[in-house]
Amino acid sequence: MILVSPAFALVAVFVLFPLGFAIYISLTDWPLIGPYHLIGGRNYSELIHDPAFIHSVLFTLLYTAIVTGPIFVVGYAMAVLVRANRRGSVFFRTAFFLPFIVGLATESFMLLLELQPDSGAADYVLGKLGLAHANTAWTVHYGLALTAICVFVIWFASGLTMMILMAGMQGIPTELYEAANVDGATWWQKELRITFPLLRRNIALSLIISVIGSFLAFNQFYILTEGGPGTSTQPVVMWIYEEAFVQYHLGYATAGAIALVVVVGIISAAQFYLLRDNK
């Protein structure tokens, strides 16, 4: 019991208490300094009519809808490519996974330079290919910024999907494939009839991790566009951050945060439900 208490104390102080406290704050008009008042559900009723909040929710959903599919497809293809232990496979796995390890914040700073008009590699390469003007300013146009960030995130995150799917593929008994070979099954048939169904848990896990990651997006937008132009590329977490620590509407920001906790909690609970041992 004593062994477990430090872990429990930390969770109590940094998770359980803040969770309860968040609900309380969300029912107040808490400013950064000065007294606050309980105002009941007013924050929530304002929230659902706040165009800025609704835009950030819709933008986050749009962003999630764009990147989830490509991350899964690219990750799956790479997992198929490197799942067997062949010459070079360890190197390839490392190469595909390194962008995830280095982290979005660091890479966003690197990308910032390459998205500059005239000096960035994005304009240079696309200009040579005749696909863009050499002085395209990527980060100050909504469509261009969103496109660049989506490509960037797909590059960043597919390595994680690859790792999760590969771990599952390597756990499938080889006898199944040998039996299928005896029956004369083609490569596609084996993928479709053996790999895909037995990989259900890993597929669900990789999709859930990817979707939650997209819902919580912040770094790449804060560093590359600062939510701009205007607030057009502001995801939910940035709305919360700006509302709380720039506008000092702590109560109102927390009401938005509670909505995020509920949504992510439901998805996570679905994850535990889907991945529970049914044996």
Binding site: A7, F8, V11, T106, M110, S119, Y124, I212, F215, I240
Partner: protein, 282 residues
């Protein structure tokens, strides 16, 4: 047999070419950033040309150290990351051992509560955490940041360590005790080789998490001298007067990247072990 060998070879070449091309796609941006960081500042802000790399210079790095005190911020990051890694290892090992070896009243509930942290996004708790940590004197405090990071690394760490201790055949240590080995000898010779991989996995994840974390540091640190590396880079982007010095920014980003790459390449078997045991079966 020879008929089935031929397509296998073609298959191998296809695999190798596809793998090589994809590796270039995934690694080139990172390698490119390293190359860019050794270009003189005036070339960094021009369109790339073929002759850019004929005069490599460490000017960006020396300038960054002199004018932006980047080593100070790197040290802050290192202190927080090492502190988080050690604290997570100690707390998770204790709890993992407790959960694996003992059943006590409420142990199931406590274990569920620790794991439930996985379901709570800390990004959504920034306001209550800020107010709470502020009143405890833990904002603008590297120890406070490390405690916060440790907590959100605990579910994974406790899970990995509990599994580690569950897999240990305890008859082994009992046998050692019967043979007259002291407790210390038992721990060192019998348990250590079985426990170390779990600890290494926990340490690696906690270190990488806190080294790369951004929004928590942004919220809980407002004093410039306490900034971690990502915040120092952000300061160079938005805080500087006039033009952003992209040469410095690129060099700073490379400094932030290098430890991650080295640690991962050196310890990737522990990382993959964590993915297999902690996340996938979680």
């Amino acid at each position: 047999m020879s008929a089935s060998r031929e397509p296998r070879n073609t298959g191998f070449y296809l695999y190798f070419i596809a793998g090589t091309l994809a590796s270039i796609l995934f690694l080139l941006p990172l390698i490119w950033a390293v190359l860019r960081s050794f270009m003189p500042e005036n070339l960094v802000t021009q369109a790339p040309t073929g002759s850019d790399f004929s005069h490599p210079t460490t000017a960006n790095y020396s300038g960054l150290i002199k004018t932006n005190d980047i080593l100070h911020y790197a040290l802050n990051s290192l202190l927080v990351a090492v502190g988080t890694a050690l604290l997570t290892a100690v707390v998770a090992t204790m709890a993992g051992y407790g959960f694996a070896r003992f059943r006590f009243r409420g142990s199931g509930v406590v274990f569920a509560l620790v794991l439930a942290t996985l379901m709570v996004p800390f990004q959504a708790l920034l306001t209550p955490l800020f107010l709470e940590m502020h009143s405890l004197g833990l904002t603008n405090n590297l120890v406070g940041l490390a405690l916060f990071y440790t907590t959100f690394n605990l579910p994974f760490g406790v899970f990995v360590m509990r599994n580690t201790f569950l897999q240990i055949p305890w008859e082994l240590s009992e046998a050692a005790a019967v043979d007259g080995a002291s407790t210390v000898r038992t721990v060192v010779y019998v348990l250590r080789p079985l426990v170390i991989p779990g600890v290494a996995t926990t340490v690696l994840y906690a270190f990488l998490f806190s080294w790369t974390e951004f929004v928590g540091a942004l919220t809980f640190l407002t004093t410039n001298s306490l900034y971690t590396l990502p915040l120092a880079l952000l300061n160079m982007e938005y805080g500087s007067v006039g033009q952003v010095n992209f040469g410095y920014l690129e060099a700073g980003a490379v400094i932030a990247m290098v430890p991650c790459v080295l640690l991962y390449i050196g310890l990737q078997r522990f990382y993959i072990r964590g993915l297999a045991s902690g996340v996938v079966k979680g």
